[in-house]
Structure formats: structure tokens, C-alpha cells
């Protein structure tokens, strides 16, 4: 082959192939809004249960993670007493955050080269989430009561005489034209008495 082989524009790197919310919208995970069934009725329950920060004590990629642990982490634990934070130092490895939720799901995230402010934003983001995967919502409202006044049907406001009348009924089955025909118009004019004036003129 001549020259360098160019990848097609729709090529997706294998690193991103198994992500639910990546690529075209038609490919992404879709469904309804999901959350813990008790959430919002009584006390608010934080769905994030466990955060594991894995980092290196020496590497420059873990610099932001170390800064975050020194400066921000104690405040975070004070404001969120329901969340357990594990710190796992390990030599010569890239920093990683794993968030585990109450519904059993977890989220793995690389923190390599991130600043402490950036990590703070992501930790707060995961604190506010329920464990459900991010998906495209097919409906804007999730409800157990789709209709309260009952679904509309074409016989909703029809007169109740139809229940009694035998069918086929000539009056109900009669063809009703959209426009009045010329014959019908003339007949109506004659019934009103206007037709005579047009044909023969007024005597006076």
C-alpha cells in the first residue's frame, strides 16, 4: 500500500469500545430514569458508599492526588460521614479512583496527571450520583400513573343513545359531505323563501 494507512473517521479506539455513553447517540445505552425506590420520599440517602484512592508516593503523575489527600480529603470526610475513603499507596503505579455505590455498581477512574482541584470536582460529582449508568432517557418523566382521567378514546363524548339504537342506523350512517352541494344550497334557499326573489325579482 502506498503512503500511510489512514484510519476511518468513525474508528473507535478499543479503549472506548465498551463504554455505554460514547459515540453516536443511537449506539448509547438508553432507558428510563432509575434511582433507589425510596430516594426523595424521606431522608436523602447518599448512594456513594466507598471511595478507594490508589496512588504512588513518589511518582509525578500522582502529585495532584497527593495534594488532594493533604489538603481536601479531611474536609470531604467531615462533610460526608456516610462515605468510607480508603487510601492505598502502591509503588510506581498510576493513580486510580474506584467509587462503589449502594446498588453494587462501581466506577473506575484514572487520575494520572490531574490537579487536586480537578480531582475534587470528580469526587464531588460521584458523591452526587446514584450508581446507575448514565443513559439516554427515552421519556422525560418516569411515572407509575400514566393517566389519571383515563385514556382518550373516539367514543368518549358520544351521546348515550347509540347504546340503545339498533345498527345499522340510517341517521348515524348517513354520509355527511364536507361542503354543501349546490342542489342542497338551492333547496335551503327555497325553504327560506329567498329563491323566488332571485328568479322572478321583487314585485315592488
Amino acid at each position: 500500500m502506498r503512503g500511510k494507512y489512514k484510519l476511518p473517521n468513525h474508528y473507535i479506539h478499543p479503549k472506548y469500545c465498551d463504554l455505554w455513553s460514547f459515540g453516536n447517540e443511537s449506539v448509547q445505552l438508553n432507558g428510563h430514569i432509575e434511582n433507589a425506590p425510596y430516594q426523595g420520599f424521606g431522608r436523602y440517602v447518599c448512594q456513594l458508599q466507598r471511595v478507594t484512592l490508589k496512588f504512588c508516593k513518589w511518582g509525578i503523575g500522582s502529585k495532584g492526588t497527593r495534594d488532594y489527600i493533604e489538603t481536601e480529603l479531611v474536609d470531604y470526610c467531615r462533610t460526608n460521614p456516610g462515605v468510607v475513603v480508603y487510601l492505598k499507596p502502591r509503588r510506581h503505579k498510576a493513580p486510580v479512583m474506584v467509587c462503589e455505590y449502594l446498588n453494587g455498581s462501581y466506577h473506575w477512574m484514572a487520575l494520572h496527571g490531574m490537579s487536586s482541584e480537578h480531582i475534587k470536582l470528580w469526587v464531588d460529582f460521584h458523591t452526587k450520583r446514584s450508581g446507575e449508568p448514565i443513559r439516554k432517557f427515552v421519556k422525560d418523566v418516569r411515572t407509575a400513573w400514566p393517566s389519571i382521567q383515563g385514556a382518550w378514546n373516539p367514543f368518549l363524548n358520544t351521546p348515550s343513545e347509540i347504546n340503545v339504537t339498533p345498527l345499522p342506523n340510517e341517521e348515524r350512517g348517513k354520509h355527511i359531505p364536507l361542503k354543501i352541494s349546490a342542489t342542497e344550497q338551492l333547496l335551503r334557499m327555497q325553504a327560506e323563501g329567498k329563491l323566488q326573489n332571485i328568479l322572478f325579482g321583487n314585485d315592488e
Binding site: 430514569i33 434511582n35 446514584s130 448514565i134 418523566v141 411515572t143
Partner: protein
């Protein structure tokens, strides 16, 4: 006695024939009927059309809906939705023009989740050209709310105090 009887009779006839008085009495009857239904169905399940961030949502008690906005309220906060376009139940419907009075309807919601949306993809390409093709990916902030309560607070055409 005879004279007074005659006067009463004439007054009665005047009341029935005067169109303004007939109209007002009809209106009074209508509003009485509406108010009695409001009282009778105060414990029933209501639905409402709420207007938030230029979107209209039809919601009932206990259901969840999303907004592509970072609502300025913390998680677990209860907020009162004041822009209500319509409220109803099995027996009656109240329609606003376009909004109902904010003291008439009480709709309460709780913020239960704050995330971001799925990825929106935009494509910019030139016609009859293979080399120019740009993809734009974006995700918006997203808030999920749960409706706690929908209630009609007071009868129509009655004096009410403003809730501060």
C-alpha cells in the same frame, strides 16, 4: 297586604328576566359546584403540568423527571415549583392562562440526583468532500427531581392569605 304581595311578585319576575342577574346567579352556582368538587376530591391523586426552564412536564405524585440544568439546590432539598400551568384530578381540571395562581396550587419536589447527561454528538462536514469532517461531543449537567406533593390549597373565588 295585597299591595305588598303585588310588589313582591313584580320583583320576582324582574329577577328572572334580568339577564345580568341570571348570569351572575349561574356563575355563582358554577363556582359553588367547582368548590364542592375541590373539597370532595382534596385527598385524591392530582396531576399537574409544571413549567421549568422552558420545558413543560406532566407529573403526578411520586414520579421522577429530569432537567438538563444544574438546579441551584443541594441534594435532598425540597423545592416548591411555582410555575404551574394546569392541575387536575379524576373529577376536575383547572387550566391557567397561562399560569395558575401560585397560592392556589402547592407542588413540592426533591432534588435526588445530579449528574451529567449522555454524550450528544454533533457532526460538521462539507458536502462532496471526504477530508473535512469534524465531530463535536458534549455533555450537559443534569438534575433529577422527585415530586412529593401536589395539592389544591383553597377554593376558587374565596379570600385567601398570601403565604410568606
Amino acid at each position: 297586604m295585597a299591595v305588598s304581595k303585588v310588589i313582591v311578585r313584580t320583583l320576582n319576575t324582574a329577577l328572572h328576566t334580568n339577564p345580568k342577574i341570571v348570569e351572575s346567579s349561574n356563575l355563582k352556582n358554577f363556582f359553588n359546584k367547582v368548590n364542592t368538587t375541590i373539597d370532595a376530591t382534596s385527598r385524591d391523586r392530582h396531576f399537574a403540568v409544571v413549567y421549568m426552564y422552558s420545558k413543560q412536564k406532566l407529573v403526578t405524585e411520586g414520579d421522577m423527571f429530569y432537567l438538563y440544568k444544574d438546579v441551584p439546590a443541594n441534594l435532598g432539598d425540597k423545592i416548591k415549583l411555582e410555575k404551574i400551568m394546569l392541575v387536575g384530578n379524576d373529577k376536575l381540571t383547572l387550566v391557567g392562562r397561562p399560569l395558575l395562581d401560585r397560592d392556589l396550587v402547592h407542588v413540592e419536589a426533591t432534588v435526588i440526583e445530579k449528574t451529567h447527561s449522555h454524550t450528544f454528538m454533533g457532526l460538521l462536514a462539507r458536502k462532496r468532500s471526504h477530508c473535512f469532517r469534524r465531530y463535536y461531543f458534549q455533555r450537559h449537567p443534569l438534575t433529577i427531581l422527585r415530586i412529593n406533593e401536589i395539592r389544591i390549597c383553597h377554593n376558587l373565588n374565596t379570600a385567601h392569605t398570601v403565604i410568606h
